[in-house]
């Protein structure tokens, strides 16, 4: 990307990666992404905000030099140290060995193990104000937005807040500005990318999103410079106010009206399925008001959302080839281990020969630090009346444990 002037003293010096279709293994990027980075100049001082993915270092350096010429930048502010932003720190410090790297406390720990070299680091605390060419830079520590190291940087002179991944999106906007997206009729695509990004990156950290919004509510900024996607503005066609409102709405705490206990299962011959029905009977005896929703994973497409909305859950799988079956693992793969930590759960299933499905599921759920019962409900082949009675009792005991 060629450089773009964002305000009187701030330039965009990041790079576009329009052909990227999968980010960090787990995210789809239908509209590519941009590795945003910025340069702030003030009275002869200069600060870089973030670097870029290591593969794009040359273009990034070219952008810096096109503004600063042969003058080295004084500071590098690292609001977040994930390698898409920190990947070029080691190379950058070869070119500019005297550059001072500004990090949060957690960031200082991370960058040492990312750059793997001696660095000139200055650690800043929450709300610390830093004199920058007679102007001020303020650092707002914002843990879990979206890593422990995350912080925002405020440049009061130009009313700009650098938010790193907060308010970002995987989206390529060649002009850098949000108000140009709408003119080109990509509004729906951008909005979709914005919400998808929020869900993937900030979904696990909703309480932290709310505290982050609270921290910036009294900051007078008109532009937010995130580290992916377009710069957000309050100009005509700009998206900044909408984006902040959307973050607040999407992060609002959810409380189920009734205790919500979904029972997920897969079944080949109906045996694991009938266990689910009987477990439900047992739960309802103990907690009559509970909302117990039996979900057949072979028919459901919103199982992951139901799982995350649950107060507790059960999951049933037959054993095939010494393991639980793929749709069950696919559901477990979606578990957000931060927000679901200590969520009560239990597993059950019918089997024919050896029945390792349940124990494998328990091991996995324990590894994710959910509060999983050590004792599964297992039954060999077709449930007998005794097995069905045991399933009802299993449901009662699970409900009592909540």
């Amino acid at each position: 990307m060629s450089i773009k002037q964002i305000s009187e003293n701030v330039y965009s010096i990041g790079v576009l990666n329009p052909t990227l279709r999968i980010f960090d293994v787990i995210m789809k990027t239908d509209y590519g992404t941009s590795y945003n980075a910025y340069l702030i100049k003030n009275n002869g001082k200069s600060a870089l905000v973030e670097t870029v993915h290591a593969k794009f270092f040359d273009e990034y350096l070219e952008n810096i030099k096109s503004i600063l010429g042969d003058t080295p930048p004084d500071y590098l502010i690292m609001n977040h140290n994930e390698p898409d932003h920190s990947g070029s720190v080691a190379k950058l410090t070869e070119i500019y060995p005297d550059i001072i790297i500004i990090e949060s406390k957690a960031g200082a720990i991370y960058i040492k193990n990312i750059a793997n070299k001696e660095l000139n680091i200055k650690t800043v605390s929450d709300n610390e104000i830093f004199d920058f060419g007679g102007g001020e830079l303020k650092f707002i520590v914002a843990p879990f937005l979206h890593w422990p190291d995350s912080m925002f940087t405020y440049f009061a002179k130009d009313k700009i807040l650098f938010t790193c991944d907060f308010l970002g999106a995987h989206f390529c906007e060649p002009t850098a500005f949000d108000y140009n997206i709408k003119k080109e009729d990509y509004e729906a695509e951008y909005n979709g990318a914005f919400v998808y990004y929020y869900n993937a990156i900030f979904g696990p950290f909703k309480p932290y999103v709310l505290s982050g919004l609270d921290k910036i509510k009294d900051i007078d900024f008109e532009t937010a410079c995130p580290s992916h996607g377009p710069v957000l503005t309050k100009k005509d066609g700009g998206n900044l106010d909408c984006a902040i409102k959307a973050y607040a709405e999407m992060s609002a705490p959810h409380k189920n009206e009734a205790t919500y206990i979904p029972i997920f299962y897969c079944t080949a011959y109906g045996n694991t399925g009938i266990l689910a029905e009987n477990i439900k009977t047992g739960i309802k005896e103990i907690i009559p008001g509970a909302d117990v929703n039996i979900i057949n994973l072979n028919m459901a497409d919103s199982a992951s959302a139901q799982l995350h909305l649950s107060d507790a859950f059960l999951i049933g799988s037959p054993t095939i080839n010494r393991d639980a079956v793929a749709p069950v693992w696919e559901l477990i793969n979606t578990i957000d281990a931060v927000s679901m930590r200590d969520r009560p759960c239990a597993v059950f299933g019918s089997y024919g020969w050896s029945g390792e499905g349940c124990s494998n599921l328990i091991a996995r759920l324990k590894g994710l630090k959910l509060k999983v019962s050590e004792n599964p409900l297992r039954c060999q082949f077709v449930p007998s009346q005794d097995d069905l009675d045991a399933a009802i009792e299993y449901g009662r005991e699970f409900a009592k444990s909540l």
């Binding site: 957690a106 960031g107 720990i109 520590v141 843990p143």
Partner: protein
């Protein structure tokens, strides 16, 4: 004296030992550890610690 564990990585802060490299004296109670303390192993903020 109590111990507090980082729920993100498992690092343990022992009040008896303190953490001299962070300037936290031996015997410092958890509530007296500065609010901007971060886990020296993984960077997690103080609110991610629970009593072990």
């Amino acid at each position: 004296m109590d111990k507090y564990i980082c729920t993100l990585c498992g690092y343990e802060y022992a009040e008896e030992a303190g953490l001299s490299e962070e300037g936290i004296e031996p015997g410092t109670k958890w509530e007296d550890v500065p609010e901007d303390f971060v886990c020296p192993a993984c960077g997690a903020p103080k609110d991610m610690f629970v009593k072990s």
